[in-house]
Amino acid sequence: MSKIALAVAAAFAASLTVSGGALAQEKTVVIAPFGVKTGVLRLFGINSEAAIKAAVEEVNKAGGVKLADGSKAKMVASDYLDDRCNAEEGIAVVRRIVGTDALVAVGPTCSNVAEPLYGILQKKVDDAKDTGLQFPILTDVAIKVGLAKISEWSFRNVPSELTMYSSLYYWLKSTRPELKTVYGGVEEDFAHSRASWHVVMKDRANANGYQVLGESKWLLNDTNFSTQVREIKKANPDILSIAAHPFTTCGLLKEMQRQGVKPKLVVGLTSTSSLETMQACPKQAEGMIIPSSFAPVNKEAKFAAEQTAKQKGSADLHSMASWENVFIIKEAMERAGLSGRKDSASIQADRRKLRDALAATKTTKGLLGVSKRTEDREADKPYVFVHGKGGVWTVLHNPL
């Protein structure tokens, strides 16, 4: 009996030694994705999470992340945390992430979360008086213009709507010279939509010589668009530029169909070039043109889309930015020369090194080509113009 007990104890001790040894050998670098996984924007979170999982898998298949001592560490994406598109919850989520061994966060989905969130980060590095969080965040989705400049710890890999809409109106001016007037439709209570019309679309249309006739407004939860469509009908614009998300964009397009309002061209918001719009109003979105920083137009983009689909997500301009972020982080980590140690001083030192590496990045390799990094930590990404055709988004023009 005592022999059996001894054998069991020996086997148990041996197993502990083996697993302990394996654990000691496997170094990890942790990234922390977060965004929306509940409510009406849930699909954004699902797609980003799937893309990040797929990209991390690819990084590890290729050997992981090289550390300063030449060893390799496995990249680990922690659980995707839900901020419910709420600023307070987003801040709470990031504070929670900062308490872990994560070196960087990827998120958030919503601009109304990103803006206050960047506000709690240290504004300028090495400012001893500023007690803000010293933690790098590389945003994949929140797209409102000019947010990354808030803190030197905030970075974004989102397309520049200013560049894209400028290019789109310029292209329309040259290819459709008969179009002279633009009218806006804007979801007035949503930060991204509002900024996209008032700061981007309207301004870019004017700059390209279009006459802006005015705008109709509605709210994110609105269901009745009869008044707005009558306003559009009255303005009789050549181009209708809609700065709204799929639910209200589809509501408006359906009401336009009922009232027989047919502008010569409809331009949509970047975020609307997604599966959601094609689920809700494929017929009405036919012909709508949207600039997008993703389309499966080459081998890499198709591969990323396929791998994301295997993780039950769909590829769009937002989720594919999440995919790209993983590779941007991997490359920056290797340049930074991380220690990979897990004591709090080393973790903070690695975060700082990673921030500096991200700040020093001049270009990144994206799925549609090379993205330039700007001085204020934003991306200048390649893009294409897509349009609704036969219930899917297809590339209409590649301006680059």
Partner: protein, 292 residues
């Protein structure tokens, strides 16, 4: 002037949607003196089940979807009653209020998970049909909604005033203890009330999604708020009041939007609610006996 009249007309027609939801709220209140906060969410849930069921049968025409939604609405109505009322002590008014708020959030999240939050295309009853009178026009599908709400109200009134079930329902609403002493099964009447309002909710949910053109959880919050406003303005427990209040709120909403813009619109609707609570707490059809 033309724009104003058209805006009011559009609003009144869209107000039929609020009426349909208001009827469900008010009927439950009339019988049980309780608010079912989950009503609008359950209605949208029923519309979603209807859509999925019809798609599974490969018969996604609007009327098949409506039929499935109606059945689903009845089942959900029963479940809401069972979970939020039957299993919870009715003596504690806050308990049922909170349980239905919980059910509202649960239903919301269930729809969000089932649809991944994405809006779903919903079949229309009369797609693209517009009735035109010179420069004025009326949406055909909203006329259908209006017609259906009138028929539903007539059916409800018939049920309440011409059947034994209606008699029992009214008796339970007025004097539940006396009704029980007379041999009426209060729990059974309450259950049937929830099933009937659930069926009505299924119809309302399907008609609303059809009128909007898509199903989304974005609908549940505003419909709950509007349903409650309509119930208060129409008078708690008054079915005709809910109908008139729905049309009134719909019409005034567009008037406020016309004059003050979309960002101030809801503020004035809320002020209207407070005006009723202070000056006419019994609702539109209440006798002018005062606030108590």
């Amino acid at each position: 002037m033309f724009d104003f009249i058209q805006a009011v007309l559009d609003g009144i027609l869209f107000g039929t949607i609020y009426s349909l939801i208001g009827i469900g709220f008010t009927l439950v209140f009339g019988v049980m003196h309780k608010i079912n906060m989950a009503y609008a969410a359950a209605s949208i849930g029923a519309a979603y089940i209807g859509l999925v069921s019809a798609s599974a049968m490969k018969a996604a025409s609007a009327w098949v979807v409506f039929g499935c939604s109606l059945v689903a609405g009845g089942v959900l109505g029963f479940l809401v009653y069972l979970i939020c009322f039957h299993l919870i002590p009715l003596r504690n008014e806050n308990a049922t209020l909170m349980s239905t708020v919980g059910m509202l959030l649960l239903a919301d999240e269930l729809i969000s998970h089932a649809t991944t939050g994405a809006p779903q295309n919903y079949p229309a009853t009369l797609e693209d049909v517009m009735f035109r009178f010179g420069e004025m026009s009326m949406r055909g599908d909203l006329v259908v909604v209006f017609g259906v709400s009138v028929v539903c109200t007539a059916a409800l009134l018939l049920l309440l005033y011409r059947t034994r079930l209606g008699l029992a329902t009214r008796a339970v609403a007025q004097q539940p203890i006396a009704a029980q002493l007379c041999g009426m099964r209060v729990a059974q009447v309450n259950t049937l009330t929830f099933v009937i309002t659930g069926v009505l909710g299924g119809i309302a949910g399907a008609l609303i999604c059809s009128a909007v053109g898509s199903l989304s959880i974005l609908l549940t919050g505003p419909l709950t708020v509007k349903g409650l406003i309509v119930t208060v303005i129409g008078g708690l427990g008054s079915v005709p009041g809910a109908i008139v209040a729905g049309l009134l709120v719909g019409g005034l909403e567009n008037v406020f939007q016309h004059f003050r813009g979309v960002t101030e619109r809801d503020m004035y609707v809320m002020l209207l609610l407070f005006a009723f609570l202070i000056f006419r707490p019994g609702g539109i059809f209440a006798k002018g006996q005062g606030r108590d």
